[in-house]
């Protein structure tokens, strides 16, 4: 089927460049051909050159196809080259659909927290109460502020994210990552009791979550509870070695802010 699409699209392209203006106009307006072209793309490995070639080909025919601009940028971000020009183009064509994605890519992949904050605030103004990839804009704003070490602002946005979840999904059903990051933000803001409350709430939602166990250990060090701290660090190490992770879809590609590795735990254990 994939080969058929390839042939089909190639044929249509040659047809297009050799035909009259009216035929081109009809072709370009037909949504079916756009879908067909996208299907050709999806047969490819997105890290291959062919993916880029086909994106360019489709964009030559439909330069206003915002989704393809986004798909052109995606593998480059995943490979460490931040092709923001393609995302900018996508956003200029369809801001409601593409601005949240650009914000997400800046925040998560490029770790461009300042740039992402601008985009996330614009996205929030455009799409009230919106979000993407399982989280609200407030969650990503919280991550960005945490990344630039503005703990008070991070607390504000994670509180907002959690309040929204409590309202829509019911109290007690808040996402453990939101609870973890709120706890961590409180820890950075030196509000130890609130930090403890939310880190524990996160662990309650996902008991094998290495990060809140680790930061709970750090918190106990601050409280001079060395025995309990060691226990938390060891728990965190055990879960990490068992393969437990942050449970975010894009964790395969990038670390999330303040995500830990084995060496972080070993370092803390050595100091105990």
């Amino acid at each position: 089927m994939g080969k058929f699409y390839q042939w089909h699209l190639s044929f249509l392209f040659v047809l297009l460049i050799s035909n009259s203006g009216k035929a081109q106009h009809d072709f370009c307006k037909n949504e079916k051909w756009k879908d067909s072209a996208a299907n050709v793309l999806f047969q490819q490995n997105y890290m291959s050159n062919r993916w880029q070639y086909i994106c360019d080909s489709i964009l030559t025919i439909w330069p206003e196809y915002d989704y393809i601009w986004q798909l052109k940028a995606m593998p480059r971000f995943k490979g460490g080259y931040y092709d923001c020009a393609s995302l900018d183009k996508a956003v200029s064509i369809n801001p409601e659909m593409r601005l949240p994605y650009r914000a997400f890519m800046k925040c998560t992949f490029a770790k461009d927290y300042f740039g992402a904050i601008v985009d996330l605030k614009a996205a929030e103004a455009l799409i009230k109460g919106g979000g993407l990839m399982d989280h609200s804009f407030s969650f990503y704003l919280g991550l960005c502020y945490l990344g630039i070490e503005q703990a008070d602002s991070a607390v504000r946005y994670f509180e907002k994210d959690i309040a929204h979840q409590s309202q829509t999904m019911g109290k007690g059903n808040e996402h453990y990552n939101s609870l973890f990051y709120l706890g961590l933000s409180y820890l950075q803001a030196n509000q130890v009791s609130k930090a403890e409350k939310y880190l524990k709430a996160s662990i309650k939602g996902y008991s094998r979550f290495p990060e809140p166990n680790f930061y709970l250990g750090k918190l106990r060090v601050l409280k001079n509870e060395k025995k309990e701290a060691k226990r938390d660090f060891e728990q965190s190490k055990k879960f990490l070695l068992e393969g437990a992770t942050m449970n975010e879809d894009n964790n395969f590609y990038v670390d999330y802010p303040f995500q830990i590795g084995l060496s972080d735990i070993e370092k803390e254990l050595e100091q105990q």
Binding site: S57, G80, F252
Partner: protein, 162 residues
């Protein structure tokens, strides 16, 4: 006939595909591949296909490189992103470096030689790369591509990715 169409298709419109400018050679990075006879460099995959992100957390790498900058009095005069892509061979050795640089508005720029040398030394000092990792189906890969990106803002290293 089908091949001709596909060829024409790619030839006519594929000219923008390689938009990145690799400046590794200009900055004196080692662009050769450290070939090991027993495992030729074929079927090279991306690190994320074989769960081979560097085992040390980005947070830890960031702390270490900030410390290194402090120890060496390294000054950064430009804002933006410095990205090193490289290939790991079957012994987990990094080589075949590629270098990409962007300013804070994602436009291509050239960083100062001393800044690039500073980051390059750091990247080359990392020796814990996974050796012959496997994908989710248990298939072993001898070589894979990885990258490290450093973001600089107002003279400070703001983040390390991935």
């Amino acid at each position: 006939m089908k091949t001709i169409f596909i060829f024409l298709f790619c030839l006519l419109v594929g000219q923008n595909a390689g938009a990145q400018t690799n400046l590794a050679a200009e900055y004196g990075l080692d662009t050769s591949f450290a070939l090991v006879d027993s495992c030729p460099a074929k079927n090279i995959v991306e690190y994320f296909s074989v769960n081979a992100k560097y085992p040390e957390s980005s947070m830890s790498l960031l702390n270490r490189i900030r410390q290194k900058a402090k120890d060496e009095n390294q000054i950064f005069k430009q804002n933006g992103f410095v990205s090193f892509r490289f290939t790991l061979n079957c012994k987990g050795q990094a080589s075949s470096y590629r270098l990409f640089m962007l300013d804070e508005h994602y436009k291509e720029i050239k960083f100062e030689q001393s800044a690039i040398r500073f980051f390059y030394d750091f990247v080359r000092s990392l020796k814990e790369w996974k050796v012959q990792p496997t994908n989710k189906y248990g298939e072993k890969y001898s070589c894979y591509n990885a990258y490290l990106n450093f973001q600089i803002r107002d003279g400070k290293i703001l983040s390390v990715a991935p």
